[in-house]
Amino acid sequence: MGRGGSVRFWIFGSMLLIGVWGQEPKSERHDEHGGGSNVSGISIVSLEWEYVEPPYLVALWILVCFLCKLVIEANHHVTEFIPESALLICSGFILGGMIWGADKVQTFRLTPYDFFHYFLPPIILDTGYSMPNKLFFTNLGGILIHAIIGTCWNAASLGLSLWGCQIGGAMGDLNVGLLQYLLFGSLIAAVDPVAVLAVFEQVHVNEVLFIMVFGESLLNDGVTVVLFNVFNAFVTLGGPRINAAEIIKGIISFFVVAFGGSLVGFVFGLLFALLSRCTKNIQIIEPGFLFILGYLAYLTAEMLSLSAILSIVFFGVCCQKYINANMDENSVRTMKCAVKVFANGAETMIFVFLGISAIDKSIWVWNTGFVLLTLLFILIYRFMGVFFLTWFMNLTRLVPIDYTDQVIMSYGGLRGAVAYGLAVMLDEAKIEEKKLMVSTTLIVVYFTVILQGVTMKPLVKWLKVKRAASAEKTLIEKVQNRAFEHILVAIEDISGQKGNNYLRNKWFKFEENWMSRILLRPSVRERQDKVFNVFHQLNLKDAMSYVVEGERRGSLEFIRNESAFVDFKKKFGEDMTMSMPDIMADMSDDRSAASSTRKESVPSVSLEVHEQAMRGTRAAEGLDSHHLLQQHLYKGRKQHRHRYSRSHFDINKDENEIQEIFQRTMKSRLESFKSGKMGVAPPKTITKHTRKEQQQKLQNKKSKSRLSGDEDFEFSEGDSASGYDTSFPVRGGYRPGAGIENPAFMPDVDLPLQIPPWLEDVDSVAPSQRAQVRLPWTPSNLRRLSPLRISTRSSDSFNLAEAPGDHQDDQLPPPPTPPPHRDGDVV
């Protein structure tokens, strides 16, 4: 890769230059600035280094870190094996080395202040805002157990064991008190969200596993902060003064810190949601509020010595739904994008600086026993803790977490910059061995991030190798596998395996009635209600009024209006109400709740390498079909995984699929309904007609049928087909789902005007009341076209303009006299 090589050379060269140059100005003094008393007079250009030094350095460092990332990402064959975070640390080593070489002193390092105030908040904001809420809250119990008990266990066991080893003499003549060991244990026990994410991005694990580890890493901050502060205070107090009262205070402080922090975040989240209700006129800077309020939430919690991370996490979690609904789509996109930029950038810088901080002679104190034992114990206790806790949890879980996942969970307990930051914050006066602790922390961080990161993928591969389907599947296997998924999803829905959780119902009701009402914009609620009606009741009458409403507003306008488009993502994506269909990606609790026995239907770990290899071995001809199928088969709901990713955000790809399916289903139901009315089975064959053909047929045919070519009305018809009055005789031969046509090629079904007028009692319907006409069906008609309807609406639908004239109307019988109002039955 010659080109890559030269690029790299230039980049390294320039970084070296920058690094070196960054040091120079210190040794120079520019007097020109100091006063015009120099001889030469006015200087046209002068070097004002000191004036710009601080921001310049910051900007320069950001640039350097981003360039590192650029270089790393340019080499995919390397990133396949070594996670990006490890490579960034290595770049940090190199840079640190360069600076050390230039300066003999490590001028730059990751200071805790910078870390906790500038680098960490954006990352946590991103996680909070993009958190898959449903998944998170479903597994919250498990996550909390791991976060609280797991972290405490890790801290206590590590501290005690190390202390025991010290007594046993394994560490030479180190003299560290028990309390200090416990303090050390508490700061290193915490699993780090940054590191976890970075590594899990390479290895696609199943979502339950992911949310467990990830959620744990987020929530354990509450525990870590408390433990750290408590033990810090204890160390300050000194051993003898610790009595029961202090310990109780410690325990209480845990609750206060954790819940207080969450509460602060929650309050800010609500504030933001309320605010987003009114920001219609400042859409251009709407997105900015997310960052400002998030940061304020963080700082406020910090100020009150509560858990800042918890605060910003719950801020994001709480406000997600409302701001995504309230704000304009562009704003939402901007927010999602910007938050990722900041998070990614901050993460990059953290890792680079972690690397740089290592190249500093002054901080390294080595004690073989201490370091090695720490590493050992961390691993062991993590495994022990996870296995024990999971065993305990599996007793009550519907979907037990199997051993492979447990291993991955344990192995994925990476430590990262948070531990380092806390270590550096130790008070050297009270803790003599601070340097040792810092060094050990660094080693632990490098070990977990680099070594465990690199070996994670192979480990997973090795563990899963028995399960992953390696044989090449025949077409029918593929199709059938997908069909099985769909079937299972359907059966789960039919049998209502969602689980009627009392608490959850209560929360949904509360949320629906109070929170949504206050926090969502009225227009948004309206829209949601409309869709809500359509879906929930699947009531023909309502659907009719919906269609008619669209008619009234002028079909074109209605069609083009976005609100007509079922905004699945907005409505359902973040929706937690049980009565709404859980369509979108993150509605996966149902999957986990009911699908333990089909865990393996989709290998929970997908390795891209494997898939690519497989693809390459197919024959060319077969390749086409397989490839086509692969590309176009609808994914079942199970596969719409919500993958939280630092580097991607979804742009509603799934929505199209769902739209298609929905429209098609409604269309076919409509036809079946119509055919039921007509008493003739809809055609079983696939009818293939282009629109043009249709038009011609219209001109030529003598039959009393006419089509309205309105593709865009598909959705609106869809509503109308939803459920129908059971009083209509459905003759034999009704075959729902038969005669499925490709909607792209099919002549578009027109408006469902055959709905008897007695079902419409909506006032707005009045203008378009004409023509509830029936056509006598003949078999020949059926053969040629899909169900025929006359569209004789008098409104301004463009379909009328397309179709030939109204001459056919006269031949049709007058509308049948409506039987007595039967509205009640339909509902």
């Binding site: 077409l475 069909a483 699947l538 088969l633």
Partner: protein, 195 residues
């Protein structure tokens, strides 16, 4: 008929269903409450419309076919027995069941019965063969709009080719079973029903 109370499940019925389907007592009662919640007409049977009211089915590509599978040939109402009978196909196969009673009729959730269920989704006219047309229909349901009919046709042809052993360009049930023998049907067609 009319009030919910009068349509409570009787013990004998539960026992019968238990014997026939293998569900446990609590599972049956739970599914019964689901049944009644779907039964808007409160007449003890479900019609197709009742199923269609479930919103998620509308966005399931095979939704309508699956609904159809609940209804016996030619009928439009399904009672609770029938409902359970269909759901029983999806019970996971437990190990102890395999050895229970070799002379008894095959349980509803056996591998071949599960496959039969899947087979029947394709084979609408119940002639025990999946014709090219039937396959095309199901494929079309499962695939997006971006595949043209010709392409889909060729996919269907290849699919039949792979499975068809006796050359009649249809897939019989035996051929269906054969071609899916490597697939872990027991797992892929099982749900753990809540207790």
């Amino acid at each position: 008929m009319g009030s919910r109370a009068s349509t409570l499940l009787r013990e004998e019925e539960i026992e019968e269903i238990k014997k026939e389907t293998g569900f446990s007592h609590s599972q049956i009662t739970r599914l019964y409450s689901r049944f009644t919640s779907l039964d808007k007409g409160e007449n003890g049977t479900l019609s197709r419309e009742d199923f269609q009211r479930i919103p998620e089915l509308a966005i399931n590509p095979l939704g309508d076919r699956i609904i159809n599978a609940f209804f016996p040939e030619g009928e439009d109402q399904v009672n609770f027995r029938g409902f359970m009978r269909t759901l029983a196909h999806f019970r996971p196969i437990e190990d102890n069941e395999k050895n229970k009673n070799p002379t008894a009729s095959e349980p509803l959730n056996s591998r071949s019965n599960k496959l039969l269920f899947a087979f029947r989704l394709y084979d609408l006219d119940r002639d025990d063969k999946i014709s090219r047309d039937e396959l095309l229909q199901v494929l079309r349901m499962m695939v997006g709009v971006n595949i043209s009919d010709e392409q889909l046709g060729s996919i269907a042809d290849r699919t039949i080719q792979e499975a068809d052993t006796n050359g009649d360009s249809c897939i019989s049930f035996q051929e269906f079973i054969k071609v899916l023998e490597k697939v872990d049907v027991e797992q892929k067609m099982s749900i753990r029903f809540l207790h």
